[in-house]
Each structure stands twice: as structure tokens, then as C-alpha cells.
Symmetry: D2
Subunit: 360 residues, 4 copies
């Protein structure tokens, strides 16, 4: 038996709105991996592909960086947080942050038991007033964990995007209280093209120390990366990555993905496309009576209220998407680099028809 | 810029004897990854490629298994060990084991601080007498860590291969004392074809509970796997894998590698080839006066004593290999699926000429 | 210099309402420690005092128990929780629980990074509806920590006491969902005498698996204890206690405190006295116009609203107590075995005078 | 029932040679504890007894120090090591060190999984050549744990005492390679009076950064202490102590022991007495034909070869001591502050008689 027997058994791409990581990978990235597959290179990153990838990330961000390719965004987050907090520290994040709700305690494991402190704020964004209180909460009190890291998510879990000013405000509050800032950028590119700013502006120039640089969700295959703007963490990160079983022997295969991702603006093109598909979806939903879009939908996540029979109907037609987040009756529709206009229009038509039937 | 600019800058494959993970990947594996890259699938293993991979591994091993693709052999080892030992446990392994010397304390991290207890034994193999003493060492004494896991490496770090009888003896000693057995099979295939036995015979049938199933070193790209023969560990392994940041979102890309690896005996063919190249190298070295092969060289690692000037000369000619392990003057030459007879013969000629010059 | 020079420099006992652990120790306990101080015994609990203490605790609780004397209530809590949850587990507790707010992340450290999930409920008690939702929250979902332990505090941090029915209800919800129950009994005796029930009724008979048995706050010197009603945890607890540096070499000095504590109902007499002093305080405060007592005050903690000038005035007179918990203007007044009626009456008079002045 | 019923059931002090922690406590220490037992003080060290203890330790060591009373020597060791090494660090210690063989993996737990690297050396002392190799072992190699701490034991586990020159040499090797030094001083006082030097000379002046300051084995009751000579570790130690459940609420009871221990040279008198008893024992054993004393016996531990029938005979007479360390036929006899000349002479007579019988 071979792999052929399973190809094609998945969801038709046109009906997949479950997540951007449900999409396949960009052809350029697949090709880049294949291109280095016949070469012989020293393992563990001592190869020219990895060196080139590091240089390329530095060029893209316009500053010196340390880059560590890791196999998941969860690993990127946990490793970054572990380098920024001591075991008795606390990590301040939004109540909806992926590090809190979707990583099975990974940050606690990697940090040796630091505590995540949950902050509120509208639209998936941390409220500055909440943060101001939290950064000083029992500072210096030996009976309490100590605030040490601010972790932001950009774009947020609800599909909104922090403005640069908003990020500046939050990282400033953190820095003034002696905290460092981590950015969970699983959808960094989607936020970047929404804001139309440079990678530098949306990272180190607005106070980010360590970035979880998302690649997988935006057309990559098997790698995300930790990007560090703080040279003093170089050794610590290297040892932590190795110790966590995240230093790939044939690292070139990850590095090649990074290079292809950043070549010829593939990453920005992919993200622009995904966002544009989300906008197309939002526009269509706005035009559909009885359907309400929730939140900002500035990136590639669209939340909307749908009647139960519409949700059921879509699923019966083979559409795949999450619903019930954050409450029953809310559907989360995610677009990706691989989403086509036809698939969006098809979904809109299906929703329109089902809504019509539902009301009829 | 793109990836093309770095292609070809590595070591010529013909001169690479540093490690089997310095080789590229088998074309079948690269093709399999490409083949699934346009599909849309639910993430985190809820896809048909991953389901098929699990079934295929079960078929190959002839029993029910749980399979977790992880990004490195180090992760496979640490995760397996963490599922088999409590924090106050000890892991009995050979002094030269990868988990002790090459994983930066990963097993201690994943287990919450279990202790590795180092056993001696010739040719990289644990001496049964040593193990008999160790399994009972201060059992029940609250002041001491408690022996809980035996970790074997097959093929060993010195290139030897345990016979089935030898494995049976060791796992029996462990089981009788209440210990479980982990097998570090980074070079499982190389050992398997050397012994010419079935995967079942060299794993669960001789007492192995959890296997680190090596793929990367034998033609894979970005994945190794934990294979569990103990269904009672199912949940624990799943949560540990996720929590460690080792549950890939686009898991299909790992699973496709597993499928291709096991299809049409690719894994066995790759391993046979690598071993055969090592035998060819050994034969040639035996015929070279002044060069002594060390140890058994039953898999794809060849250790030999070379004069310093020969080592220098080879490096000057562009050959890449490790030396100084375990002591100065010893070279470690590793063959892989990608090693050619021409490259072995070229190396032998180079050594022969340098030895001749050295003595002249 | 000697210790004499510091004696007497503390707060006069009559003005100390900061905490029950600010009191000294019962004379019986001090005497018991002195009584064993000339004996020679094997260390680490292999002594007859420790054996007797274990038997005595079993007798008091009316069932087989394992007892581990540890140096703090925080250690008791963290050790108990670590024996009941895996690293990927979650511990469900009230938002005000000591394990969450006052132990600097100790539970996370001891458990290897389990997560505390905070539940709401009036008067410091977990609301059953909250618990019902929490025990099933994402059960079986590998992306989320898994509910594994319910941790109750009796008496609560706000001075209330769960009824037996309330405990039964909560432990039943937990047990039905597969969770175990830990009871933080830092003020176990205060709650016990308030309910006027047996130790068995308020622990294992209502579903408690592991108890942090408070001694220090109720007249002890240097020990609290973990009391386990689950024999299957015997070995695990023993190894965890040792590994945490909590197995005292001269354990007899802790065990002697346990024996004296439980002899002649000292522990119940101490708790009754402390509670009675709290009731006297509450009665007096009720009679003071302009002062509002908050919450149930069923044990030995009294919370009340005091005008700022009254708080300042008391402090100026040398009274020591916490205020600002949970908000400005709230004073927490704690009585202990050492609190006298004169000191309570003195405090009431001082408050009455200050309130009068404040209004005058 | 009360404590009286168990008094006197232990081993007669005259026949107890099992360990110095099998002895009772000095009367001065018991009295000091009793003296503070009626006072009211803020908890967690915010009391004048603790302040005085800190000042007194500083005075004794002739420098600024941070002092943390903890409940065991194991806790002191683990906490100190955790403040000096990162999780990927290694701790270099003698193969016989207590932290390796008698703490159930405590150092691994507290450090988050650092590795203990075992060094050899005669008479329980680390060989400088071994240390020189170890401090540079794979420094900077991301695949290996990194040497970060040297841990010395003074007096050693075999009863020998490092000279100041020997300590200087070892700490110098460590410091030159960037390592810090921890001293396990469970028998610090015994070594100090043997060398007849000042506490400063045997600690920070010869390169010690953190000291586990033994009290329990030398007449204390329930406390040992971490003494830090490095102010930069102040906060880290405070948070680690709390988080480990080692910050006692009624800390005064520990602090009072420290004050009494250091008052009027009690600690030095106790240690001199214990050492003198050991010397008396050694002299007597030397005079006993057929009995060989092993090692230096410079502190209060005496190892000697005894015929099996002598060992059995002593045990039959009620003597309590360890034997079989490090091999069968070796007895370990430990003296303490409570050992009397009569008890030593009694033991010598018993051994003499048994040896005579054995040979007769």
C-alpha cells in the first residue's frame, strides 16, 4: 500500500472553513522542501539553508534576530514564555489566549509552573486598565507569583487586530513595570497586511521581545519559529529548544520552508488573500438578512450568528467549521491562502438558501 | 532571493560520513509529502492520512499500537520515558546512551526530574549483571530514586546490535523487578535488517513497552514517532504529546512520511543499503594495513583508528565525519540510504593513499 | 548574645489580630517537644513517637490513614495536590483559595505545571453549579488541561464553614466526574467545632481523599500534616514528601506536636476558644453602630467594614491586623487559642471609642 | 493518652551510633524555643526573632548574608542548587554526595531537571583533576547539559575534612570556568572545629556562594538554613523558599533555634564534643587488634572494618548503627553532641570483648 490510497479522502477544500491549519501548503513551500532533499548537510542547523533562513528573517525584520524553527506554534509559545519568566512568575494574557485555552498547560510545563493570569478586554484585546492593575498586583510579595511577561496575540483569537498604538500602549505599561513582552503571532502575517505596516513596526519597534512567528497557518507545512529580538536570550533559547526535543536533525527542511515563505512576498500574498476572502465572506454575510457578523473580522477569522438549522444544513452539505465558540449559535469561519472566491461564494449561497428556508 | 541560492552549498554527498541524519530524504517520502499538500484536512491528526499511518504501523508491527509522530528522536525518547516513569523514578541506560549524552537533559525535563542511572557493558550494550544489581538498588528506600524504566538503544551508539536473546534477557530482568522497557530505535531499521527478524520480534515480543521509532535517520524528513504497545498509556501519551508542543497541526505531513516510509519496504531497503555500505567500508578498512576497525559495526556506524595525519588529510579533501569519539584518533564513519558505493570506494582510496603517505 | 534579648519585642498578644499563626504555641505542645528532646531515636520517622502519632491520628479519624508531618500548610497542600493530579490536570478551587492566592505557585511547582481553575461562589464557598460546569469542561479534549481534583477549603478564607451537606454535594459532583477531593484544612479544627461533628464526618465520610491537616494555626509550633485516606497513595506520598525536602530527620519533634495537639482534646479546646473569641468580637461589633460585620464569621475570622479613621486609630494604638481584604475599608480580625476575652473587649472598646470620635 | 507514654521507648542514648540526627536536641535550643512560645509575632519571618537570627548569622560569618531557615538539609541543598543552576545545567559533585545518593532526586525536582554529574576522588573528596575535566565538558555544546555548579560537602560523607587549600583549589577551578559553588554543610561545624578556622574562612572567603548550614545534626531540633553570600540571589531565594512550602508561618520557632545554636558558642562546643568522642572511638579502635579504621575520621563519623560476628553481637546488645556502607563488613559509627565518654568506652569494651570472643 502507499500514500495514494488516502489522497482525496479529506474534506473538499471548497467546503473547509474549520481553520487555516486545515488547508494544505503553498506549492512554493513544498517545492523548496523538495529542492533541498537530495543535499547532504550537517545536522541540527549547521547547514547553509538554515544560515540563509536566519539571515533572511533578520532582513525581513530589519534587525538582528535569533531564529529557532519549531514544529508547532504551541512549542514556539511555550519556549518563548519559558525564556521570559521564572517559575515563580506570572504571564499576563487575554482570557481567550491560545496559551491559556488550547495548549493543555504547555506554558506551565515549559516554565516550570509559572501561572497564567487572565485579563479581560473587548474584542479579544487586553484592556489597558486591566493590564495596569495586573502588572503591579502584589509585586514584591513573596506569597504571590510575580508578573513578568505580557503575552499578546496578534491577530487575536476573535479575528481582531491590535493597532500599533494599542500595542505600544500595552507593551509600555508592561515595560514600565519591568515585564517583557511576548507576541503570539500565529496569524502575524494576517495582522500585518491588515495594518499595512512593516514587520519591524509590528514587533520589536513596538516593544515585542520574543515573537512566535506563525508559518503553518499561512501556507507552511511543518514549521513555525521563535524569533528573538533580544540577543541576551540567545544561549537560553538554544538550550531550551534542544532540551524540549525541538531541535530538528534535518533542520534544513524547516529552514527551506522559512526561506520560501519569505521569498517573493509569498507570506504577504498568502495573508492578503486569506484576509480578502474573509472580507468577501463578511460582505456577503452582511447582505444576508438574519445573519449577524460578530466582532471586527479584520484578519481571516469570521464569527457570525447563525440559526441552528442553518448550521445543521451547512454540515449536512459537507461544510466543515467550528461553532459554539464562544456560545451556541455562533459559527467560526476561517479562510486561508487556499480558500477560493468560488468557495466563499458557494458558502454564501448555501447560507442564503438555508436562511431563506429557515424563515420560510 | 529564494531557496535556489543556497542549494548545492552543502557537503558533496559523496564526502559526507558525519551522520545518517546528514543525508537528504528518500524521494518517495518527499513525493508523499507533496502529494498531500493540496488537500484540506482537519488539523491535529483528525485526518485520513494520519488514520492510515496508524493502521499501517499496527500492520507492520502485527499488533495494536498508538502512534505519535513527533519532530525529533529526542522528543520521542523524552515523551516515552515520561510516560513510563514517575518523577522519583530512575531510568537505567547504558553510559553511552543518547538520552544521557546528547539530549541536553531532555528526559529530566519531560519526566519532572527523574534520574538517569548509567550502566556499563561492552560494545555499547548493557551488561546483564549490571542491570540485575541496578534494578534492585535501594528499592523501596524513600531516600533514593526508584528504578522504573530500562532504556535500551537498538542499534547501539557504537554500531553494535543486540540479539533477540540479549534483549529478552534484559527486558526479563527489568520486568521481574517491576520495570518497564523503552527502546530507543533511532536506528531500529538498521538493527532489524541486520538481525533479519520481524518488527514484532524486535519490539513487543521481546518485552518492549514503548518504542522511539526512528525515521529521520533512515530517509525521512521531519518526523520520528513514538509507538506504544501498551494501550493503558494511550491518554497519558496523547496529553503529554500535546502539552510538549509536539502535536503538529498539519499532522498529515508527518503521517504521509510514515506511510511512504513503510510502503513497499522502503524503510527496509534504505536500512539494508546503509548497512551494506558500512560493510563495504569495513571490508575495505580491514584490507588497509595500519587501520583498525573497532567494535562490531553491525549496523551503519563504523568506528576505526586512524592516524592523525590521515584524519587531517581526509578533512583537507573535504570529507566530513566525527572523530575523537570515544577518544582521540578514533573516527566515526556513518553510512546512510544515500551513500553510494562510489563514495565508499572513494573514501577507502583516500584513506589508503593517506595511510601510505603517512608511513612513507 | 542570646535569645533573651529579643523576647518581648513582638506585638503584645492583646493587640494581635493579624492571624492565628501570629499567636505563640500551646504550652502542652511546647512541653511535648521538650519531653522528647533528650531521647535518641532513629531519624526520618523510624521512631516510636512518630509511630504513636500515626496511630493517634488514625484513632481520631476512625480509619486507616497515612500521616506525613510537613513544615507548612503550603507544603501540605502542594504535596497533596501533586499526588492527586497529573501535570496535564486541573485543580478546581474557589477564586479566594489559599492555594491560588497565597502560595506563590507552589501547587504548580509540585504538580509539574497543573493548572488551577478558579470557581466563584458566595461567602468563600464553591457554587455547585459552577463546579458542575467545570468538572466536564473539555473533558477528553487533548488541547485542554483535564479536571482531576476538587480542592475545598474548610473553614474558608472568608471565615465561613461548609455544612456537611454542602461538602457532600460538592465531592459528589467531583466523584461522579472522576475527580478526587483535597481539603485544605488549615482551620480544620475551627470548622469542626463549629459544626460539632466528628473528624471522620468532615473528611473521608464526606468524600475527602487527602487532607491538609492544620496544626500550626491552632496552637502548634512547626508542623502541619498531610493525612491520606487513600492507601493507594501511600508510596507516592512518601516519595514526594522526601523529594520535596519535607521528611524531617528529627521527625519526632513534629510527631510530638501532633500527639500533644490531639491529646486531651487540646486541638478542639483551642479551636473552640478561638471561635468563641470571634463570636464575642462579632457580638460586640454588631452592637457598635457604624460597623458592619461581613459574611458568616463561623470560625475564627471576622471581616468588618471600618471607617478609615478607625483603622488608622487602631494601628496608632498598636493593634495589628490586616485590612483592605477584599477591598479598602474592610478589616480582617483573627482570633486564636491565645486570644483573651480581655483583649477582645479591649479591641471592642477601642473601636467603639474611635467610631464615636469619628462621628463626633 | 499523651506524649509521656512514648518517652523512653527509643534506643538508649548510650547505644545509639546510627547518626548524629538520631540524637536529641541541646537543652539551650529547646529552652530558646520555649522562651518565644508565648509571644505574638507577625508570621513568615516578619518578627524580631528572625531579624535577630539574620543579624547573628551575618555577625558569625563576618559579612552580609541572606538566611532562610528550612525544615531539612535536603531542602537547603535543593533550594541552594536551584538558585545556582538553570534547568539545562549540571551540578558537579562527588559520587558519594548526599545530594546524589540520599535525597530521592530532590535536586532534580527543585532545579527543573538539572543533571548531577558524579566525580571521583579519594576519601570522599573531589579530585581536582576530575573537576578540571568536568568543568569544561562540552561547554557551549547545545546537545549537552552545561556545568554550572560545583557542590562540595564539608565534612564529607566519609568523615574526612577538606583543608582550606583544597577548597580554594576546587572553587578556583569552578570559578575560572564560570561555575558557582555550593557547600553542603550538614556537618559544617564539625569540619570547622577540626580545621580550627573561622566560618568566613571556610565559606565565602574560599569561594563558597551558597551554604547549606547544618544545625539539626549538631544539636538542633527542626531547622537547617540556607546562607547566601551572594546578594544578587536575594529575591530568587525568597520566592523559591516560599514556593517550595519552606517559609514557615511561625518562623520564630526556627529562628530561635538559630540564635541559641550560635549563642555562647554552643554550636562549636557541640561539634568539638562530637569530634572528640569520635577521636576517642578511633583511638580505642586502633588499640583493638583485628579492627581497622577506614579513612580520615576527622569529624564525627568513624568507619571501621568489623567481623560479621562482632557486628551481630553489637546489634544483639542493642547497639544501633549502620553497616554495609560502602561494602559488607564496614560499620559506620557516628558521634554527636549527646554522645558521652561512657557510651564510647562502653562501645569499645563491647567491641573488644566481641573481637576476643570471635578470635577465641
Amino acid at each position: 500500500m502507499g500514500t495514494a490510497s488516502v489522497s482525496g479522502r479529506g474534506t473538499p477544500p471548497a467546503k473547509m472553513f474549520a481553520s487555516d491549519n486545515a488547508a494544505g501548503a503553498s506549492a512554493e513551500i513544498v517545492d523548496a522542501v523538495a529542492a533541498v532533499s537530495m543535499e547532504a548537510h550537517l545536522a541540527y542547523g549547521n547547514d547553509p539553508v538554515t544560515a540563509a533562513a536566519g539571515e533572511r528573517v533578520a532582513e525581513v525584520f530589519g534587525t538582528d534576530v535569533d531564529v529557532h524553527c519549531v514544529s508547532t506554534g504551541s512549542a514556539a509559545n511555550s519556549l518563548a514564555l519559558s525564556a521570559l519568566t521564572r517559575p515563580w512568575g506570572s504571564i499576563l494574557c487575554h482570557r481567550s489566549a491560545h496559551i491559556e485555552v488550547d495548549e493543555c498547560g504547555g506554558p506551565e510545563f515549559f516554565t516550570g509552573g509559572a501561572k497564567l493570569v487572565l485579563l479581560d478586554g473587548d474584542d479579544g484585546k487586553i484592556d489597558p486598565g486591566e493590564l495596569r492593575r495586573a502588572v503591579r498586583h502584589r509585586a514584591g510579595d513573596v506569597h504571590s507569583v510575580q508578573p513578568q511577561v505580557l503575552s499578546l496575540t496578534q491577530a487575536t483569537e476573535t479575528g481582531s487586530v491590535y493597532s500599533l498604538d494599542e500595542i505600544h500602549t500595552l507593551t509600555g505599561i508592561a515595560r514600565d513595570a519591568g515585564l517583557r513582552t511576548h507576541l503570539d503571532g500565529a496569524r502575524f502575517a494576517n495582522a500585518l497586511v491588515h495594518l499595512d505596516v512593516s514587520p519591524a513596526e509590528m514587533s520589536w519597534r513596538c516593544g515585542v521581545d520574543l515573537l512566535s512567528f506563525g508559518i503553518t497557518k499561512n501556507g507552511g507545512m511543518t514549521t513555525d519559529a521563535v524569533v528573538s529580538f533580544d540577543g541576551s536570550l540567545r544561549d537560553e533559547l538554544a538550550f531550551r529548544v534542544k532540551r524540549a526535543g525541538q531541535l530538528a536533525s534535518k533542520l534544513r527542511f524547516e529552514s527551506a520552508q522559512v526561506l520560501a515563505y519569505l521569498a517573493d512576498d509569498l507570506w504577504l500574498r498568502n495573508a492578503r488573500h486569506a484576509n480578502m476572502m474573509a472580507q468577501r465572506l463578511v460582505s456577503g454575510l452582511h447582505a444576508t438578512s438574519g445573519v449577524a457578523v460578530r466582532g471586527a473580522a479584520q484578519a481571516n477569522l469570521v464569527f457570525c450568528d447563525l440559526p441552528d438549522r442553518v448550521i445543521d444544513g451547512l454540515e449536512n452539505q459537507g461544510y466543515v467549521f467550528h461553532h459554539g465558540i464562544p456560545e451556541p449559535g455562533v459559527a467560526r469561519l476561517v479562510t486561508s491562502h487556499a480558500t477560493t472566491t468560488e468557495s466563499v461564494d458557494g458558502l454564501l449561497t448555501a447560507i442564503g438558501d438555508l436562511v431563506h428556508d429557515d424563515r420560510g
